[in-house]
């Protein structure tokens, strides 16, 4: 039973409004640095735009979706009103205010440092303060999820925690811990310099701290998507979840092994030893496990639904799936993009192969395919699925939804495949200008132009998405019943305490973080003369 509808809607609408804005910026960026645009503008505008696009898409959108969806899960799965609704509103306003505080200096060109900060570049302090406000607002959500789970467990001793809530809390703990890295970086490294208290910065240490956040944040973005796979998809296609325990193990694995792997972002950085890079590489490989478990379980759940509908044969059951159902479509497209993106990711995580694509457009293509593609398409699905329960009105423009999802899929493939390709050709990322007239670069011109078309398709799809949601607010009211999650084939009556609690897994998560990050961080903190002069961005004339 959803009682905090206004709260949840506020999160989703702020998330999607910001998303629409950032999408326009993204499409513009694709265009201006392509050969379709004659070069005639200040490159600073490009970096300004990339900073805004990245900060919104990386921090604001997924955080708000995870928070809003988390509150919805808490109420629907635990079947009781959210405890601490006022605190939840406080968190929401902190995130909203933080987004504004961060975006003002960015739009003025005072903080064009990109959303990954890149010290020793240092921008206006308000940019970082805004990001910290977003993170602190989301930490309120982390605390509320934990409190709501604890209260439910107290009232229901010995009962298995509903899967959706278990996964949701796992995601919140993962975020709570992984955000610590960026928080340490901002508070102890960047802000003192941005405020003028120090003139030098330990860029290497700051980058190690950021890597602590940078990879696991991707799994935080991913968790709502996986929750939708496990708890929305089987129900939406009229089937059952193949295995409840498998789902729990997947989320637990994410919690434990998503953290100690971030140094694979620093493979070419000199400040971390090669041995630690190898250890992080090993654990990065392990993260493939929960994803493979998930793909197996979701395909098995789809097969169950199909056979219930009369599907038969080794592969014939695929045809019998309800393809007209937007959730079915979104999940299938999401898994395809996850497959391609995951395959590319195996190259990024390999210490040796990474060298050939490090800091090329391949990387940009990779994370757009995984995050913008596989993950965000399920954010759409989550919104479509939840909307009638939030508005009390039917959301029945199914044709429009299918068009939107297909356009997003096609747009993302057309954008990211050429991106991967030019990355292999050696095109560097984070550049505002490419001299396509040069014979060494001109072979990339066609692929880059293709990406622009993909970007335009994505923009159209994003507009359709917002249109569907707005139409949902205008539809006639209807009784949509309580919001429900997928039921497992074997509904768990008793489960091992390990699969019903987090203590052990949090201990392993922190333990592995200490093992894999402890020495590199301690060494950089102790070594003298590791700081470099800060490079202030946007200082003007």
């Amino acid at each position: 039973m959803l009682t905090s509808k206004r709260l949840i809607l506020a999160h989703f609408w702020l998330a999607f409004a910001a998303f629409g804005l950032a999408l326009v910026l993204g499409a513009w960026q694709m265009f201006v640095r392509s050969p379709l645009n004659a070069w005639h503008f200040n490159p600073e505008f490009y970096y300004r735009s990339v900073t805004a696009h990245g900060s919104i898409m990386g921090y604001v959108l997924p955080t708000l979706v995870a928070m809003g969806f988390g509150y919805a899960i808490s109420e629907a799965a635990l079947e009781k009103p959210l405890l601490g609704r006022r605190w939840a509103w406080t968190g929401f306003w902190l995130v909203a205010a933080g987004a504004v505080v961060a975006m003002i200096p960015v739009s003025l060109g005072w903080a064009s440092v990109l959303y990954t900060f890149y010290p020793p570049m240092v921008g206006n302090p308000f940019y970082y303060i805004g990001v910290v406000m977003v993170v602190v607002g989301s930490w309120i959500w982390v605390a509320l999820m934990s409190i709501n789970l604890a209260a439910w467990k107290r009232d229901n001793p010995g009962k298995p925690v509903p899967l959706a809530m278990f996964a949701n809390v796992a995601g919140s703990y993962l975020w709570g811990w992984t955000a610590v890295g960026a928080a340490l970086e901002i508070i102890f490294q960047i802000l003192p310099v941005a405020l003028g208290l120090r003139g030098t910065i330990d860029a290497g240490l700051a980058r190690v701290f950021f890597s602590w956040t940078l990879h696991a944040i991707v799994y935080f973005w991913l968790i709502p998507t996986y929750i939708a796979y496990y708890t929305i998809f089987p129900r939406a296609i009229g089937g059952r979840l193949y295995s409840d325990a498998m789902a729990r193990i997947s989320f637990i694995l994410f919690l434990v092994v998503a953290m100690p792997i971030g140094v694979h972002h620093l493979f070419t950085d000199p400040q971390v030893g090669a041995g630690f890079k190898f250890m992080h590489s090993v654990f990065t490989g392990l993260v493939a496990l929960p994803t493979l478990l998930t793909v197996f379980t979701i395909c098995a759940s789809a097969e169950i639904a199909s056979r219930l509908r009369g599907g038969s044969g080794a592969f014939g059951w695929v045809k019998a799936l309800p393809w007209a159902n937007p959730i079915m479509l979104a999940t299938a497209l999401s898994l395809v993009m996850l497959g391609f993106g995951g395959a590319g990711g195996l190259i990024n995580m390999s210490y040796q192969l990474d060298a050939s694509i490090h800091n090329t457009q391949w990387i940009t293509g990779h994370f757009h395919l995984i995050f913008g593609g596989a993950i965000v398409i399920m954010y759409f699905a989550i919104a479509y699925d939840l909307w009638p329960h939030l508005t009390g009105r039917a959301l029945d423009s199914f044709g429009l939804m299918r068009t939107q999802l297909w356009l997003w899929f096609i747009g993302m493939i057309v954008t990211t495949f050429p991106w991967h390709y030019v990355g292999v050709l050696g095109m560097p990322r984070r550049m505002a200008f490419y001299d396509y007239a040069n014979p060494a670069i001109s072979p990339q011109a066609f692929s880059v132009s293709m990406s622009v078309i993909g970007g335009l398709i994505l923009l159209i799809s994003g507009a359709l998405f917002l249109a569907v949601l707005i139409r949902g607010h205008r539809a006639p009211g209807t009784d949509v019943g309580p919001y429900q999650f997928a039921v497992a084939v074997h509904v768990p009556a008793r489960i091992p305490v390990a699969l019903n609690s987090f203590g052990l897994w949090l201990a392993l998560m922190v333990g592995l973080t200490v093992v894999n990050y402890g020495y590199p961080i301690a060494q950089l903190m102790v070594l003298p003369e590791t700081s470099v002069p800060a490079v202030y961005v946007g200082a003007g004339r």
């Binding site: 070069w39 200040n42 490159p43 600073e44 001793p157 010995g158 003028g196 003139g199 030098t200 434990v256 400040q271 971390v272 030893g273 090669a274 041995g275 630690f276 890079k277 190898f278 250890m279 090993v282 654990f283 392990l286 550049m431 200008f433 490419y434 001299d435 040069n438 060494a440 670069i441 008793r494 489960i495 091992p496 305490v497 390990a498 699969l499 019903n500 609690s501 203590g503 052990l504 897994w505 392993l508 333990g511 592995l512 093992v515 894999n516 020495y519 590199p520 060494q523 070594l527 002069p533 800060a534 490079v535 202030y536 961005v537 946007g538 200082a539 003007g540 004339r541």
Partner: protein
């Protein structure tokens, strides 16, 4: 279920998860810190402990011979972006007196008619660095070197502060109709030339890079040619020499004319 003890090695979930995690961490550490470094013969490690230190990233004392020193003086000024950005009225006042001897070339108001640089409104750190370089011999000029030789560090700080205090005066050759040459706006990525504007104003300003608007075209051209030929080499890490060497004579002319016409 609740009576089941989680934190006990009798609980298979606990023992398996903790055991697997420890085994994985230990195996990956053994491979990454011992086996792989020892397998690389070019690392020339003396033993297991040496391998661990090397792979963990412990800084190692270099055994190489001391690096070759150039046979000319290089700039020893360390530039930071907040260097000399605080105004000091006493220093400006002293600088005004000291600057009288500069006026014959750089103009009484810091604006030159003699193809010497205009110093009015120039960043203090820039003026200071050039003076220090003249004094140490990193930059050589028959006119400036004798002046700088007799200046104390405080003198140089004061003169720099004074010129930074003077307002910038619009160029005598102001012509806003001249379009910015591509080398100023976009640089030439394939020749490793960053846009001039990304350090010298317009787009962004970097520590130690002078403000070029309104400077004499003759002066700018002469300096770029000096950087290209190596006659001038007080640019830190050869930043300007690497750029000027790859610029065409036409680009040097365009840049000089463009900056002269800027405010």
């Amino acid at each position: 279920m609740s009576e089941q003890k989680l934190y006990s090695f009798r609980n298979p979930w606990f023992s398996a998860s903790v055991g697997i995690t420890i085994v994985l961490a230990v195996l990956s550490a053994l491979a990454g810190l011992i086996w792989l470094p020892l397998a690389q013969s070019d690392l020339k490690l003396s033993g297991i402990w040496d391998a661990i230190c090397s792979a963990a990233g412990v800084p190692r004392v270099s055994t190489q011979a001391p690096s070759l020193q150039p046979d000319f003086k290089i700039s020893n000024v360390v530039m930071t972006s907040e260097m000399l950005t605080r105004k000091d009225a006493v220093s400006i006042g002293r600088g005004a007196t000291l600057a009288q001897r500069c006026a014959i070339c750089h103009g009484p108001q810091g604006v030159s008619d003699a193809h010497s640089p205009n110093l009015a409104g120039q960043f203090a750190a820039v003026t200071y660095k050039e003076l220090v370089d003249f004094k140490t011999g990193a930059r050589v000029s028959v006119v400036m070197s004798p002046f700088a030789a007799s200046m104390s560090n405080q003198d140089m700080l004061d003169v720099a502060a004074y010129y930074a205090f003077l307002p910038r005066v619009p160029s005598n050759n102001l012509d806003p109709t001249i379009p910015a040459p591509p080398i100023v706006v976009t640089g030439a990525p394939m020749r490793n030339i960053a846009p001039c504007g990304s350090c010298h104003g317009d787009t962004d300003t970097k520590a130690g890079s002078p403000w070029l608007g309104g400077q004499s075209a003759v002066y700018i051209k002469a300096q770029l040619q000096a950087f290209a030929s190596g006659a001038r080499r007080n640019d830190i890490s050869q930043q300007m020499r690497n750029i000027a060497r790859h610029m065409t004579p036409e680009e040097i002319d365009q840049v000089a004319r463009y900056y002269e016409a800027q405010p």
